[in-house]
């Protein structure tokens, strides 16, 4: 075995962490900054994945497209379409508050999944789309993976820097103000529905990007890849565990959750055969347990949101106090 191939598994793990990192940052824009409870991550992931698949595959009988475009065009198209679909959904659904929004977005994601499963002309339904190109996919195994890691890591870095820039700008401060005290922000003359829609569309486009990155890695997309368990809820755990509102936190969450999830199987395989089989179910349990422990002992996440000039701990507590006795003083931070 060539020495470089020893790296194959860590590299694959890292590619997946980058893809989940994109999803987590997308959710962080929505939940961490704007307080939007989007439980339909899988839906936007699916839109991105299928869009890029349709744009970049060669022509196929019986379904739309196969436009044979280059991969970057597919990725850009994925982000655009995810944003475009998020816009009307946001217009309708963002009127709902927190938990109602969660219910509506679950419904939307489920709708998207059923469309992907059923509409033959669009997604080739249950059989899915195969033969999707991967940049540098013709290189030998290890080199192809390293090249793809380079691409995903570079994209993730760009996304991270842009979102960080956005978060420290007046826009970011305003989003936090809307999140923590909507009435006060409105009183300050902020266009709350419009701003929430901005955050929703931006976050959804980032999720679409993650879908595109996934599809060019796997080179195939079938409806069972948009399982809410693996796409929506795992991402939520990453965000909550890492620290919502902090991009470095959610990236740390992505690393921890995916590495534990993937590598725990290597550990459980050392057990005797009869336990090793049962232990496969233990992986999900382990992630759930981790979430419980973090929520119990560190509810703000491992790397909590860092706010400037915090005289007392717990801006969240202050925000809660604001809600009972509105004092608009801190809105401009």
């Amino acid at each position: 075995m060539e020495w470089i191939s020893i790296l194959n598994y860590p590299v694959y793990l890292a590619i997946f962490v980058c893809i989940y990192g994109c999803l987590a940052i997308g959710l962080n824009i929505q939940w961490g900054y704007a307080g939007l409870f989007n439980a339909g991550v899988a839906g936007f992931f699916a839109i991105g994945a299928y869009t890029s698949a349709i744009l970049t595959t060669p022509h196929a009988e019986g379904r739309i497209g196969g436009f044979d475009l280059p991969v970057p065009a597919g990725i850009v198209g994925a982000m655009l379409l995810a944003a475009l679909i998020a816009w009307p959904i946001g217009r309708i659904c963002l009127r709902f508050r927190s938990d109602y929004l969660a219910i509506v977005t679950i419904g939307v994601a489920e709708g998207i999944r059923l469309v992907a499963r059923s509409e033959e002309w669009l997604t080739n339904s249950a059989r899915g789309i195969s033969g999707i190109p991967r940049p540098f996919g013709d290189l030998p195994y290890a080199q192809a993976q390293l090249a793809y890691l380079g691409i995903t890591a570079a994209i993730l870095l760009v996304v991270y820097l842009l979102v960080e820039r956005q978060a420290v700008s007046p826009w970011g401060r305003m989003m936090r103000a809307i999140r923590d005290n909507e009435d006060a922000a409105r009183a300050m003359g902020k266009d709350v529905p419009h701003r929430r829609l901005e955050a929703f569309v931006l976050g959804s486009a980032t999720m679409g990007l993650a879908g595109a990155l996934y599809v060019h890695l796997a080179r195939t997309i079938t409806p069972d890849a948009i399982d809410p368990m693996l796409v929506t809820f795992l991402v939520w755990i990453m965000v909550i565990l890492g620290g919502s509102g902090n991009n470095r936190g959610v990236l740390l969450g992505a690393v921890i959750v995916w590495v534990i999830w993937s590598m725990s199987e290597i550990v459980t395989d050392q057990l005797p055969a009869e336990f090793a089989l049962k232990a496969k179910y233990g992986r999900m349990f382990l992630i759930g347990l981790l979430l419980q422990v973090v929520l119990r002992f560190r509810p703000q996440g491992l790397l909590p949101e860092a706010l400037r000039k915090t005289p007392r701990d717990g801006n969240r507590r202050r925000a809660a106090e604001d809600r009972t006795a509105p004092a608009a003083g801190k809105i401009e931070d």
Binding site: M1, W3, S5, I6, N8, Y9, Y12, F16, L114, R117, S118, S125, A126, R127, G128, S130, G131, P140, Y141, A144, Q145, Y214, L217, A218, R219, T220, I221, T222, P223, D224, A225, D227, L230, S262, E265, I266, D269, A273, A276, L277, K280, Y281, M284
Partner: protein, 399 residues
């Protein structure tokens, strides 16, 4: 600088190679849907995997007495989980071949992202999507289970032969149901049958009466139900019988489980038939059934015979290739191409001696002859079953 690093890496590699035992065990990956949608089938299939591994080891092992080690991993019936598991098997466990996954979407992802680039042979005992036939696989992906395409076609021809000229088709909306339904429809219409209603239904709904009412409007009195008998297929069948939407019912192998007989009763299922792959009533199957039930296995469980064959064929291919990964797919074709001394399930010792003596062998699998075509698929042999008492009995073989 770079050269120094390379030198260091090679030095490390050298020491690790020296440290390794001369007769390392041979690892193969056993991907199984232990969690996820196919979990109900897991206990018997993993037992069947392990049974084949044990037989090989009990009868002298591989090559120069090395042990065959099956490293089991979970494919979760999900593309992400399967690709992750396959990457671990190939790179961490160092397997030279993989048996599984069971679900077609999972197989496509695992093969594309790990086994094909790594040049590792993959044999699936249960993934039936026609999409796998056309996969660009460098001749590294094989199946011991026929594609849905074959079964759908065979079912269509058999129904027409038996004089059923008009049917309604209801199928579960996933790759399995859709794959069979499409192949059935194409063949049935091409041979002059009429499809009076063709609809997918979602799994795990509490009632399918409205779907059934729609289908019944077409005026067919036979319902072709392509679903799983343990879950939604059972509900559809029960509601169709209760409400008298149809008179006759025909299912595929997913419906041929004990659940309908237990839940609905044999006396109500006199007009119910199901097609399923049969192993051509072969001597090989009898040998396998006897041996497998001898260790407490359930011979009527789905996919146990193809699973056993997949592992046994993998072992034969490794033996034939002398443990050389790059020759595995070529060797796999060589050990089961219809030419040479027949080898029955469990005859590992005989096979090994013949291979070592340089003779041609031909494995006769429990699930059929498993002679692979150019795409790595096997043609299926099927029969139509009816309910007889607590079990199923063959009505006719399907061509």
């Amino acid at each position: 600088m770079n050269r120094k690093l390379m030198g260091l890496a090679f030095a490390l590699l050298g020491t690790s190679a020296l440290a390794g035992p001369a007769l390392a065990d041979v690892n193969i990956g056993l991907l199984a849907g232990i969690t996820g949608g196919a979990a109900a089938m897991a206990p018997e299939i993993t037992r069947s995997y392990q049974f084949a591994v044990d037989q090989v080891n009990e009868q002298g092992g591989l090559l120069n007495g090395q042990k065959l080690v099956g490293v089991s991993a979970d494919d979760g019936c999900s593309p992400q989980v399967a690709a992750d598991a396959a990457t671990k098997l190939v790179n961490v466990s160092g397997v030279i071949g993989v048996v599984g996954p069971w679900c077609s979407g999972a197989l496509l992802a695992a093969a594309n992202s790990a086994t094909i680039p790594a040049g590792v042979l993959l044999i699936s005992p249960a993934a039936t999507s026609p999409e796998i036939t056309t996969l660009k696989d460098n001749d590294l992906v094989f199946r011991t289970i026929p594609s849905d395409e074959y079964q759908g076609q065979a079912l269509a021809r058999t129904l027409l032969e038996r004089g059923t000229k008009k049917v309604a088709v209801s199928f579960i909306n996933n790759d399995y149901g859709k794959g069979i339904a499409e192949a059935f429809k194409k063949e049935y219409e091409a041979k002059g049958g009429e499809i009076a209603g063709y609809e997918a239904h979602e799994e795990n709904k509490s009632s399918y009466r409205s779907d059934l009412a729609n289908l019944a409007q077409g005026g067919a009195d036979t319902l072709v139900l392509l679903d799983y008998g343990d879950t939604s297929g059972l509900t559809v069948l029960r509601e169709a019988i209760e409400n008298g939407f149809f008179k006759n019912f025909v299912g595929a192998e997913g419906m041929k489980t004990s659940a309908p007989i237990k839940a609905i009763g044999a006396e109500n299922l006199t007009t119910f038939m199901a097609s399923a792959p049969i192993s051509s009533k072969s001597e090989a199957l009898e040998i396998f059934n006897k041996a497998f039930s001898g260790i407490g296995g359930d011979i009527n469980a789905s996919y146990v015979a193809p699973s056993y064959d997949a592992v046994f064929l993998m072992a034969l291919a490794i033996e034939k290739a002398g443990g050389d990964k790059s020759k595995l797919s070529q060797s796999l074709r060589a050990v089961s191409n219809g030419k040479g001394e027949p080898i029955m399930p469990g005859e590992w010792k005989k096979a090994k001696e013949l291979i070592d003596a340089g003779k041609e062998i031909d494995y006769k699998g429990a699930s059929g002859d498993v002679d692979f075509d150019a795409n790595g698929d096997v043609p299926g042999s099927y029969a139509l079953f009816k309910v007889a008492g607590d079990d199923y009995a063959i009505v006719t073989e399907m061509k």
